[in-house]
């Protein structure tokens, strides 16, 4: 025990001796660069202070911090120089400190930091940090003390609010949203916007803010705050229902007083804010989202041409000229002026005849945001080119909008526009499409010359067809026919129409008798056959020549036929047939061949005589 203590004492003495020797003799070489953390096991959300200390040198150059990839740097690097006198010796140190916060759980390594001192590069050892889900009681109490400290200092002393002028609006009605920052602690710099609100569901128009936004003061819950409006939007809801105005996120660097947990007199002394012993802490500020209740526009009396214009507007429309030549342009202007969602106004539909070539309107906007209210004018310019001469009409068009003050739709109706289109100066006006090649050739041709024929010139009322004269002349032949027909009939009666009738019927009777004779010929009834043939011939001749039956002899017939101009040959044939008939009737033997011959001859004779008589 004694030996032990003796050895200890010896060691201590030696060490002290050496230390004194070293520190006195070689202070230049004794430069260290170390990294330290205030704790290396932390819970999620806790902060760690990492300090890189260079001791033994007045200062290095080219300090390079490790990349805190797995951490969020809340503050730093904060450089601090210190001088210490220990036992008469002076030690100088420079420290660079960071306040970091882990991004996730696990084991992480803070890489080496480097610095150059007198041409030598010094590196620190890497440090391992373990981030746990929970935290040990001790750490928690330590952390929460610190956190409490921070949150007490920051807490209610800085916040962001979005202020809307109304929370129940119609679809398309303007809502003005102002993002206001309230603070009553020191800000190290102007806050920067980290996240711009998306403002989905709204058509937004940023309202210009004065460049040097005035900071005003407001008292909330008895505390005085500085207030600055950071951004202002005119919002036009595009959907109905509940729409949310997204929060905006600000990065503020606030100054907080740091407090050391040491009882060092110097520390306590320097802890006073008067000496600016403060740390800049990066603090995120975001506002609470605000809901807007968007009412649908009344549907029951919505005009058909309504296209979403809401506000109060006045409409003017005019033509730049009322008289043009064909193929020259005319511009129809429609100017809509007023307050509301001017930028969302759609071009009124204008219908024109196909004779007017119409182009899509050009849109000119003149919009201002005076007094938070979007107002101005939108002008539509419709270019039209009338293609054909004549009185071209542009029928009335309409524009309707929802009037917020009256909660009713307003309809503007334009007058009918009339353009007097004159023939164009061009030699040839444009022709309709679909003209054939042949027609194109004809276009150059002149018309044919006038006629000097005069014969057809007459009074238009002097129409022969359909006139009295015409009917008289048309009826005249009919009357003549009827008259003559009746006269003829009378004459026929006077002379005895029997002759006439006989004459006309002779042929018929003869052929009927010949038919009878043919039957007898087939049944070989010789006697009856010849009787029938002679009856046919005598009967026919008697009727035709108008000879009474008592006078019918062969001689008599032949002489009459001769006087009628019948050839001698025919007469001879006839008398021969008649004779053979007389003869054969009483002759006992006669072959059928002879009968056949007689039959055909008599038939021939009748047809020959019929042509002559």
């Amino acid at each position: 025990m004694v030996i032990f203590s003796m050895r200890n004492i010896f060691t201590l003495v030696c060490f002290t001796f050496c230390l004194i020797l070293f520190s006195a003799g070689a202070d230049a070489q004794d430069v260290t660069f170390t990294a330290s953390v205030d704790k290396n096991i932390i819970a999620m959300g806790e902060q760690i202070e990492v300090t890189f200390t260079l001791s033994g040198s007045k200062g290095g150059s080219n300090f390079r911090a490790p990349s805190f990839d797995d951490f969020v740097v809340l503050s730093g690097p904060n450089q601090m120089n210190s001088m210490q006198f220990i036992n008469g010796a002076m030690s100088v140190s420079t420290s660079y400190s960071y306040v970091i916060q882990p991004r996730s759980e696990g084991k992480f390594t803070i890489g080496p930091a480097s610095i150059r001192v007198d041409g030598k590069q010094l590196n620190t050892q890497p440090i391992t940090i373990e981030v746990r889900k929970g935290s040990s009681q001790q750490q928690r109490s330590q952390r929460s003390e610190e956190q409490n400290d921070l949150s007490r200092q920051i807490g209610e002393n800085i916040f962001l609010r979005v202020v809307v002028d109304k929370s129940r609006v119609y679809q398309g009605e303007q809502v003005t949203a102002s993002y206001k920052l309230y603070w009553r602690i020191a800000l190290a710099s102007n806050p920067s916007i980290n996240k711009i609100p998306a403002l989905s569901g709204f058509w937004n128009e940023e309202i210009d803010m004065p460049k040097q936004g005035g900071v005003s003061r407001e008292i909330i819950d008895g505390k005085q705050y500085n207030v600055a409006t950071l951004k202002k939007y005119a919002l036009f809801p595009q959907r109905t229902g509940t729409l949310t105005i997204d929060p905006m996120e600000l990065d503020c660097i606030v100054q907080v007083q740091t407090r050391r947990r040491s009882n060092d007199i110097f520390d306590q002394f320097f802890n006073d804010p008067f000496f600016g012993n403060t740390t800049n802490v990066n603090h995120k500020v975001r506002n609470q989202p605000v809901n807007i209740n968007v009412l649908p526009l009344p549907l029951d009396d919505q005009p058909t041409d309504f296209s979403g214009a809401v506000g109060s507007f006045s409409v003017e429309s005019w033509l730049d000229k009322h008289q043009v030549k064909a193929n020259e342009p005319v511009v129809l202007k429609v100017k809509i002026t007023g307050k509301g969602n001017v930028r969302l106004i759609e071009a009124p539909k204008i219908v024109t005849s196909p004779d007017i070539e119409r182009y899509d309107p050009k849109i000119y906007d003149n919009i201002t945001t005076q007094g938070d209210q979007v107002a101005g004018s939108r002008t539509f310019e419709y270019l039209m080119i009338p293609r054909y001469p004549g009185e071209q009409k542009i029928p009335s068009f309409s524009f309707s909008y929802f009037d917020l003050s009256r909660k009713k739709y307003n309809i503007y109706k334009s007058p009918d526009f009339v353009i007097q289109v004159e023939k164009s100066d061009g030699i040839k006006q444009t022709y309709a499409t679909g003209i054939s090649k042949e027609d194109v050739k004809l276009l150059g041709e002149d018309i044919r010359f006038i006629k000097s024929e005069t014969a057809s010139l007459k009074r238009s009322t002097d129409k022969f067809a359909g006139s009295v004269l015409f009917f008289v002349m048309a009826v005249l032949p009919l009357i003549t026919f009827a008259g003559l027909f009746v006269a003829l009939r009378k004459r026929e009666k006077f002379y005895g129409n029997i002759t006439l009738v006989k004459n006309r019927r002779a042929r018929k009777i003869a052929s009927r008798r010949l038919l009878e004779a043919r039957k007898f010929l087939q049944s070989k009834n010789k006697e009856e056959f010849y009787a029938e043939i002679s009856r046919a011939l005598y009967g026919y001749l008697g009727d035709k020549l108008n000879i009474p039956r008592s006078d019918l002899t062969i001689e008599n017939v032949c002489s009459t036929l001769l006087s009628q101009g019948v050839s001698q040959d025919t007469i001879d044939k006839l008398s021969k047939v008649l004779e053979s008939c007389e003869f054969a009737r009483f002759a006992p033997s006669e072959n059928s061949h002879q009968m056949e011959l007689i039959y055909s001859e008599s038939a021939e004779l009748i047809s020959t005589l019929e042509n002559i008589l």
Binding site: I450, L457, F470
Partner: protein, 250 residues
């Protein structure tokens, strides 16, 4: 005989009346030749106002209007000339040229070939021409029928019969011809658009929808009339309504 003398005297009086019109016509033609189209138009119109007409008169008037670049009026005149003499080639040609200056190009539905053959056959004669044919063929029918009865000789009877049948066919054709030509000549169903531009409506109402647009010079057929609105049909078969002051009946 007395009747016949009366008719002849009627013809003579109408001839003496037209003597003045004839002189006017020749004077107007002279003006046209000199290029004084406005005066020529005035003169032709006066002849018309005095109640005279002829295909040549309408044709010349149409030419004068054409020279004055009054296309719709020239088309009306040509159409009137064509109504009186449908087969005249000059009228057809000039009408076609005038129609080329019409903005709207309307393709007519072509008639069946035998219908157009028949029409051009009928159009060879005016209604008066067909009236003469009718009278002549009636006489022929009458006389030949009587002869057929009168003559005893079969040969002559047969000849008379043939003549009677042929002339009877001619009589029937002439009756059809007169009807067709008269209905065409007295036709008041055709009109020419006079307004430079007019939109054809779907119903006889100012507020009804516009179906299509017509320009001056288009020929339309009038189908119906309701107050001041006329139902019209284009050559291509399109149908719509027009106000009466936008066109002139041919």
């Amino acid at each position: 005989m007395i009747r016949f003398l009366f008719l002849i005297s009627l013809f003579i009086t109408s001839l003496t009346f037209s003597q003045e019109a004839l002189l006017q016509f020749e004077h107007a033609n002279q003006l046209y030749r000199e290029g004084k189209y406005t005066e020529a138009v005035k003169m032709y119109e006066e002849i018309l106002k005095n109640g005279f007409e002829s295909p040549s008169l309408y044709y010349n008037l149409g030419n004068a209007y054409f020279k004055l670049n009054k296309i719709p009026l020239s088309i009306i005149s040509y159409e009137r000339a064509r109504r009186l003499d449908p087969n005249d080639e000059d009228i057809f040609y000039n009408l076609r040229i005038a129609n080329l200056h019409v903005v709207d190009k309307i393709e007519p539905i072509p008639p069946l070939f035998f219908i157009s053959w028949w029409n051009s056959f009928i159009n060879n004669l005016s209604s008066d021409g067909w009236a003469l044919v009718l009278i002549v063929s009636l006489w022929f029918t009458t006389i030949s029928t009587l002869l057929m009865i009168w003559l005893k000789r079969v040969r002559f009877q047969r000849l008379a019969f043939i003549i009677a049948v042929l002339s009877f066919i001619f009589t029937i054709i002439a009756i059809i011809g007169i009807n067709q030509r008269l209905s065409r000549e007295n036709n008041k169903n055709e009109a020419v658009i006079m307004a430079q531009v007019v939109s054809v409506k779907s119903a006889p109402d100012e507020k009804s929808t516009d179906l299509f647009i017509l320009h001056e010079g288009v020929k339309v057929e009038i189908l119906d009339k309701v107050e001041k609105w006329h139902k019209i049909k284009l050559a291509d078969g399109k149908i719509g309504w027009l106000e009466e002051n936008t066109f002139e009946i041919i």
